[in-house]
């Protein structure tokens, strides 16, 4: 595995990750304000790509078109796509979700799934089941060379565009009046309303922004792969939703982080051999041992109440972690009822078990160091990453404040 190879995979990973992020932001923002998974969002993304492609086909742009006109058509396609897709997003909320706002959450979820099916079928009815082909004349074909690696200009464009859009979104959410209204609404809709915020307007705005981002994502994907199909948005939507959950649903920074992790994991995962992964497990093991030997005992000891703080007691707690499983198992088998000692013993045994598993996998992977994942493993890898992270952080990487409102 060469450096060039890794760099190439990283760029591909970032490109896909950015597109996931453009979609994931829509999922996460809507979840933030409505606690609703907008299942139709993947289709909104597809529709965005279809509208852009259709506009370009309609303009008849081809290789002989002068550059200035090409740029003009490109801008036209972008604007038409953003406007119509935003309108679609706005309408979905009005038609499928708002009337059900007072109903149970499962009702809105069913409505979302229904909306997704309706949109897919509409695409088939209008455009047919065959993929729509993006006119290649407007797709930038250049390459740039970085450290001896040829990178498609389009990849750079996708990454830069996405970064700019995310910066814009961060500014809207953080710096503007509407952004404040969005944050207030997502924390406590009822209270926000009583503080003078028009929550319906805010929700519409959220759908419009999310759909605009998705439409740009759809356009970029259509350019990247050259075509789109009526069901492209299903898998992209699912991946983006996964990324949003991974990052902590409801948190916009989480959506971006989750998407990038997912995109990178998919691409690295394919090229990476087990020998490389083994090193990850080694690092995991080092971290695990650090926690078991230094951090966890220190934290536990600090829980001992002032009046019980004897050196023997502290030593007992520490030795459970450091000499686990011997002392810890002895404690668990003994009749001692002291809660802190018992909880610590159980904790120590669990940490020890985790470290043994990590070590086992490290050895296993080193022994099969040459094995590689095939590209059909891509989806499996991304969901494996999700499972692994959610096991340690059920609320997602940045998602500790979802349940905050009470």
């Amino acid at each position: 595995m060469t450096f060039e190879h890794i760099l190439g995979l990283t760029i591909s990973g970032l490109t896909v990750g950015m597109i996931y992020a453009l979609i994931a932001l829509g999922y996460t923002m809507v979840y933030g304000v409505l606690q609703l998974i907008n299942f139709a969002h993947g289709e909104v993304f597809t529709v965005g790509g279809y509208i852009a492609a259709t506009t370009l086909i309609y303009t008849g742009v081809d290789a002989t078109t002068p550059l200035a006109a090409k740029i003009g058509y490109f801008a036209l396609a972008l604007i038409v796509s953003i406007v119509l897709t935003s309108f679609l997003g706005w309408m979905i909320e009005r038609v499928a979700y708002r009337p059900l706002r007072k109903q149970s959450r499962i009702t809105a979820l069913l409505s979302a799934i229904g909306m997704s099916i309706v949109l897919q079928n509409l695409l088939v009815i209008i455009f047919g089941p065959e993929p729509i082909i993006m006119p290649t004349a407007v797709v930038p074909t250049g390459f740039i060379e970085v450290f001896g690696v040829r990178i498609r200009l389009l990849q750079v464009i996708i990454i830069v565009t996405s970064l700019v859009l995310m910066g814009l979104l961060a500014w809207i959410v953080k710096g503007t009046r509407m952004g404040k209204a969005m944050r207030a609404t997502s924390q406590d809709m009822e209270a926000a309303e009583m503080m003078g915020i028009e929550t319906n307007l805010t929700i519409s705005f959220t759908f419009i922004v999310g759909s605009a981002l998705a439409s740009i994502g759809g356009f970029l994907v259509a350019m990247y792969y050259g075509s789109l199909q009526y069901d492209t948005g299903f898998l992209y939507g699912l991946k983006a939703f996964t990324a949003a959950v991974l990052g902590g649903i409801g948190n916009i920074y989480g959506a971006v982080v989750g998407s990038l992790i997912l995109g990178l994991a998919e691409n690295w995962g394919v090229g990476v051999t087990l020998g490389v992964l083994a090193w990850l497990f080694v690092f995991g093991l080092i971290a695990g041992l650090y926690v078991q030997i230094l951090r966890a005992p220190g934290e536990r000891v600090s829980h001992i109440a002032e009046e019980f703080r004897t050196p023997e007691y502290e030593r007992l707690i520490r030795s459970q972690y450091q000499l686990a499983p011997v002392v810890a198992v002895k404690t668990l088998l003994s009749e001692r009822t002291d809660a802190l000692v018992h909880v610590s013993a159980r904790h120590a045994v669990r940490l020890m078990a985790g470290n043994i598993v990590l070590g086992f996998f490290a050895v296993l992977f080193f022994m099969n160091g040459e094995m590689q994942f095939a590209s059909k493993w891509q989806h499996v890898i991304s969901f494996a990453v999700l499972m692994a992270i959610l096991m340690f952080r059920p609320s997602g990487i940045l998602g500790d404040n979802i349940q905050e409102k009470v």
Binding site: E193, E198, E404
Partner: protein, 263 residues
């Protein structure tokens, strides 16, 4: 009378079969502090919810300065000039202290989406004015919200300061009527007295206040008038001393307490 700010006119609200508020009528005059008292579950918070637009009365009407506000959405009621605090704190805890107050001004600001997108000079000016106003409001709580705390998340404040911040946020709407739902709940006696003084200062500054309170010291010390209710019905209304000694009120409290100890 011409200085009637709020007129609740035989309002009724039922939940299932339960009449949480039953044919309730009262008026609040400009510059008054009125306390709404009653045993737990007597319908006080529901009355607030009727006034602030969370519920629409099943029958009856709520008038603000002579105009009906029954059936308006909460944000519309807020824009007409009624802001409130909550029995259970409902601050935007992920936002900074300053932002919480700014959200309270939301309905008052004029900047529209276009202004926001392009950050027009008009909006920037307005933003500066808002921040200045918010500073002034926070400064009404001396020593509680120094500049250094303005950018900290609301969740980092002490409990008592969070209750104060809720009042500050409500003041940001420049209300004609301020509704305070148990403003000193959970505070120690010293903090309660401080907040009571603050409520009196608000009255001095020209505010009209309707508050729900259980703390007798605060009720006696701050209110001009007391309205007692039980089972959604008004039991008594008048000067604090008279209401506190009203046989029906005493009976309601004692009766309820008797029932509580029995169960």
């Amino acid at each position: 009378m011409s200085d009637v700010v709020l007129d609740v006119h035989s309002a009724t609200k039922t939940f299932g079969g339960l009449k949480a508020v039953n044919d309730l009528s009262f008026q609040i005059h400009a510059g008054e502090i009125v306390s709404l008292i009653g045993p737990n579950g007597s319908g006080k918070t529901t009355t607030f919810n009727l006034i602030s637009g969370v519920y629409e009365p099943d029958s009856g009407d709520v008038l603000l300065r002579g105009e009906s506000i029954a059936g308006l959405r909460p944000d519309q009621v807020y824009a007409r000039g009624i802001s409130r605090t909550f029995q259970m704190l409902r601050l935007f805890s992920n936002m900074s202290v300053m932002e919480n107050v700014l959200v309270g001004m939301h309905g008052r600001t004029q900047a529209n989406i276009i202004d926001c997108m392009f950050h027009t000079p008009r909006m920037r000016r307005e933003e500066e004015v808002c921040v200045e106003k918010a500073r002034a409001i926070l400064a009404q709580f001396p020593g509680r919200f120094p500049e250094s705390r303005h950018d900290q998340p609301a969740s980092s404040l002490s409990y008592a300061n969070r209750r104060r911040l809720e009042i500050a946020r409500a003041l940001a709407g420049e209300p004609k009527l301020l509704l305070l739902d148990e403003p000193v709940a959970g505070m120690n006696p010293m903090e309660s007295m401080e907040v009571m003084q603050q409520i009196r200062d608000l009255k001095e500054a020209g505010h009209t206040i309707l508050m729900i309170e259980h703390d007798m010291k605060v009720i006696m010390g701050a209110s001009d008038r007391v309205i007692a209710m039980d089972h959604g019905v008004k039991l008594a209304e008048g000067a604090p001393k008279d209401v506190a000694n009203d046989p029906a009120v005493v009976e309601a409290y004692l009766g309820r307490r008797g029932a509580d100890t029995a169960s």
